[in-house]
């Protein structure tokens, strides 16, 4: 997974979907997911309606279709594993189909909501539903420094690659452990600096 792959695109910030209030989008998205998960297999009308509605929303959001389909296709290995296990169960074909449809619909909903809502608005919505402040601070700091640390690890990896000529299997493990431990040490040193900076700005 590369950094570019994880960086989420906000598409055209002027689309009708981007300008909706975050609370509305999050609430609506949660509702769609809840109904989709709880719906029995027989409710095929609901699944078709949801699929159509989400398709129209995807067009309205003006997110690049290539980006959307790439995200959808990258279903976690977990889904594939469960599908494989279920493929050997003779009775469970219809059930398996329902599970896949449900997870694809829910995935599409989350992709649409998260890529049309700026993160600061998501944080505000979390505050609105009374998530404890400590958790929100942690989430905000994690999101802020996620890409910083990712680039830091990329730099360390590049430095390592330019210095080591050939790697053996055992050596490789040692290097990985060193990189991860250095990353933790640098993260905790950065945390100290951030605390000083936060205090200097009047955080309490």
């Amino acid at each position: 997974m590369s950094i570019d792959w994880l960086r989420h695109q906000h598409g055209h910030p002027d689309s009708p979907l981007h300008s909706l209030p975050a609370e509305l989008k999050l609430g609506f998205g949660f509702g769609v997911i809840l109904v989709t998960v709880l719906a029995p297999i027989e409710w095929s009308t609901w699944f078709i309606c949801a699929a159509l509605g989400l398709g129209v929303t995807a067009l309205l959001s003006r997110l690049p279709l290539l980006f959307l389909s790439r995200r959808l296709l990258a279903l976690s290995p977990f889904v594939l594993g469960v599908v494989l296990v279920n493929a050997f169960e003779p009775a469970g074909r219809g059930h398996w189909l329902a599970v896949s449809v449900k997870s694809v619909l829910c995935l599409l909903t989350v992709i649409l909501v998260s890529n049309t809502t700026p993160f600061s608005q998501i944080l505000r919505a979390l505050k609105f539903i009374r998530i404890p402040a400590l958790l929100i601070t942690t989430i905000a700091l994690m999101h802020r420094y996620l890409f910083v640390l990712m680039e830091e690890s990329e730099r360390m990896r590049r430095a390592r690659a330019s210095r080591t000529f050939k790697r053996g299997q055992r050596f490789h493990w040692r290097l990985l452990a060193t990189i991860v431990s250095q990353l933790f040490i640098r993260a905790s040193e950065r945390a100290e600096r951030i605390y000083d900076a936060m205090c200097a700005r009047g955080w309490k």
Binding site: H95, L107, L135, I139, M142, A187
Partner: protein, 321 residues
């Protein structure tokens, strides 16, 4: 191990969500009480660290690669409650921004990976390192604890999937447990190596985390233990109790009359499943116990390998609480 939406049903999701909200709420309260204010940014940075560390792949035999889960490592570095908060944050971000794990199944994921993995990992780490003092003992304890915690979290995941009716328990339990007994080896190895490297470079970071005495931690661990026991009772126990049914049908197969079998066995309900599948579950449980013993031996060896024979006065030895 991230369960996507649609894979668990309403009752499982609701039960797991209640357990997770209680656990995370308690963890937040503990962290607010015991963590000094200057450590608050460290939670966010540790979460970002864990996310990035999970992206570093390590080679597993046969050309495949695995990645760190890290609950036990973070718990050993920051303490169990902070680890619950950190891993929960990672799961929330992974769910909303990167669509790894579902929204409705977030509660189940938090229960398996943030609560079971971190807390059980921490408890095993502390107990074993109490028995095996010194730097080597700590490394061995961490490797063993990370392995156990990975396997137990996988069992929780299998139980939730089975309770939802997505995958039958007889398929989910052996598959998840065996796969994660292998993944756990990598997890234990990389956790121990990272921990050893951190305690070599910055022993102060490790000493701080191990300062709290067992008495202070006991009350904390009791509540988490209660939550996890409740989870096991909900997700795993119903299936474990059906083992006698398997024995029942075997007894029938071998010509023992149903009445005698019923007298011998506590669960007289007739069971029409193939007995072989039940044996697969039993065999997996046995393999798990055997595996735990083997891994414990390996962990002891790893401790000797990673911590060189030392004179007195090496920082690693002083860190012993």
């Amino acid at each position: 191990m991230h369960i996507p939406d649609g894979f668990i049903d309403g009752k499982t999701a609701a039960a797991a969500a209640v357990l997770s909200v209680t656990g995370v709420g308690f963890a937040l309260k503990r962290v607010r009480l015991e963590l000094p204010p200057r450590k608050v940014p460290l939670l966010g940075l540790a979460a970002a660290f864990l996310f990035v560390a999970q992206m570093v792949n390590f080679p597993v035999a046969g050309g495949t690669s695995g990645h760190l889960v890290g609950g036990t490592l973070v718990a050993a570095l920051l303490g169990p409650s902070a680890a619950v908060v950190v891993v929960t944050t990672v799961l929330i971000i992974q769910c909303f921004l990167f669509q790894d794990g579902g929204v409705i199944s977030l509660g189940a994921n938090v229960f398996n990976m943030a609560i079971v993995n971190s807390v059980i990992g921490y408890a095993i780490y502390r107990i074993v390192s109490h028995w095996l003092p010194g730097a080597r003992g700590r490394i061995a304890a961490l490797a063993f604890a990370a392995w156990c915690a990975t396997v137990l979290a996988a069992m929780g995941c299998a139980g939730q999937l089975a309770w939802s009716g997505t995958i039958p328990w007889t398929a989910a339990f052996p598959a998840m447990t065996t796969v994660h007994m292998l993944i756990g080896l990598g997890e234990g190895l990389i956790s121990a190596m990272v921990f050893a490297a951190i305690s070599r470079a910055r022993p102060d970071l490790v000493i701080e985390s191990n300062e709290a005495g067992p008495q202070e931690r006991a009350g904390e661990l009791v509540l988490y233990g209660l939550l996890i026991t409740l989870g096991i009772a909900l997700f795993i126990a119903p299936f474990a109790c059906s083992w006698p049914d398997g024995l029942d049908s075997v007894a029938e197969k071998f010509g023992i009359s149903h009445r005698i079998a019923a007298a011998l066995l506590p669960a007289p309900a007739p069971d029409y499943q193939i007995p072989g599948i039940h044996w697969a579950v039993g065999a997996t449980a046995l393999a798990g116990v055997a595996g735990a013993l083997i891994v414990f031996g390996l962990a002891l060896g790893l401790g000797r390998l990673l911590v060189p024979k030392t004179r007195n006065g090496v920082p690693g030895n002083q860190a012993n609480p």
